[in-house]
Symmetry: C2
Subunit: 290 residues, 2 copies
């Protein structure tokens, strides 16, 4: 059985793990993302979560390292500049990991990593066309179409968070108005509706579900896909009322013969999705999948 080191880097936490080739999480270590940390402090945390995960798993041989990281990034050169981690700008994450651990390292955007994980082990298993997305502090995602992970010009395909859902809506962190992320992400629920997402009212849960359903409907029509798996702390925390509202809006907006069957479903890998996804970046690259 092959094992992979996995690294999930986001604005809330750094996660390190050991994941088997079957998608089982053998160990997992998380550390909060420090605010205002320097690049060397961030690198020390990165090394620590990976070393600690390896020790905890008591496994000493790894095939390679898979990395899921918040964007943007320069995929070809392995440089990361996560929007929510100002200490890293063009940080050479791939090379640093390779040098430290003596293993090949594979990097991708965290939304695309989750999509790969769901595609190999979760709700997208054996499905050639689907989108996976995360409704959390921000909103991101990835798309597998015709059995392949979409990259796009610079590797950012899957950015469902910046599909317009309300032309005169809230100003988004990107500077545009009415992006899905501006209307329904955790950060913007706090900012614009004055509610902590963890204690949101049913009205807010329904409203956010509707916006997600609307954005997803545009994607389903544009790309001829009928399965959208949704995860992330906000979506999963909001639960059924959110998912029902999202499905209703999707069904009202996607009425073409090929899109009218489109379904929203929760991710299957749940809270482990990001670390399994990170491992799958390596697994799928090494095995030529997607």
């Amino acid at each position: 059985m092959d094992h992979f080191l996995a690294l999930d880097i986001g604005g809330t936490k750094f996660g390190g793990g050991v994941v088997s080739e079957r998608g089982d999480v053998i160990s997992y270590i998380a550390s909060p993302t420090p605010k205002g940390a320097s690049d060397s402090e961030l690198w020390e945390i990165t090394k620590r979560v990976l070393h600690d995960a390896a020790v905890k798993a008591d496994i000493h041989k790894f095939s390679s390292v898979g990395i899921g990281c918040g964007g943007p990034m320069d995929l070809d050169r392995g440089l990361v500049s996560p929007l929510n981690i100002p200490g890293w700008r063009d940080f050479p994450l791939t090379k640093s990991i390779q040098d430290e651990f003596g293993l090949e390292a594979y990097l991708n955007n965290d939304g695309k990593a989750i999509t790969l994980g769901e595609g190999l082990f979760g709700a997208g298993k054996n499905v050639r066309n689907f989108m996976a997305m995360v409704v959390s502090t921000g909103i991101g995602g990835g798309i597998i179409l015709d059995g392949r992970l979409l990259n796009g010009r610079l590797g950012n395909a899957g950015h469902i968070g910046h599909v317009n859902v309300e032309p005169n809506g809230n100003i988004c962190s990107c500077g545009a108005r009415g992006c899905l992320e501006a209307q329904a992400s955790g950060l913007n629920i706090s900012r614009y509706y004055g509610q902590d997402p963890r204690q949101a009212t049913d009205d807010i849960k329904v409203l956010c579900g509707e916006y997600v359903g609307r954005g997803v409907a545009s994607a389903a029509s544009l790309l001829d896909l009928d399965l959208i798996v949704v995860g992330g702390s906000v979506a999963l925390g909001f639960g059924d009322i959110f998912f029902r509202a999202a499905q209703k809006e999707l069904s009202n907006r996607a009425k073409l013969n090929f899109s009218s069957s489109a379904k929203i479903a929760p991710v299957e890998l749940g809270e482990h999705g990001p670390i399994i996804g990170a491992a799958t970046v390596a697994i799928s690259s090494q095995r030529g999948l997607f």
Copy 2:
């Protein structure tokens, strides 16, 4: 020099042509799409435009036949059911052509055919990520991403006409509200704004350009693409004022680091785009392009 028979089937006209492997149109014959015609009458017109195009070109040897046809269709089985041609429902167009002409025939959606044509001979030449779209009686398109034509689950990827651009907008022919097609297609300009698109006021040209720019912005963000080529009788007829409004709205809505450079440009193949595109369906299939 290889030559291809090309067939472009739309709600307005049936076009037959002979196109060289370099994308030169050697001959072209068009016949208006009859209203209320039976399947056999439609088939007679199909045979006639292809035979007449071959005679006019005075070419007797063809590599194969390429077909661009209005959707929906069952690509795998070669059956067409064009929305605007009620006489054909699950008509076996690919097989009928193959039997009649003794040549291999290759079928795709008309929007995807135009995209292939622009990708091989036009504005998308040597571009690995772009969308092509047509703003005409309806609005359709196709997407080349990572150097490949996107198909999606049933082959309909590229349906930019049903991206939502106005949540409380006009009812679309698909049944949803505020699709790009409902807000900016030729048919709906007549229906909802009471103007013949050929004599539209500047206000309408700007409005439609804005809607196109908004839909395109969502697609550019979702797919990480920065070139959108736009054709079709409405877009090309509206001209500069339309294209300027579309570009302005796109720039206002696509502000991510990877999408902020997105550009709208007119198609390069102009009115010959559909027949060259139809030929390219065959050329690209035979040569394993896209």
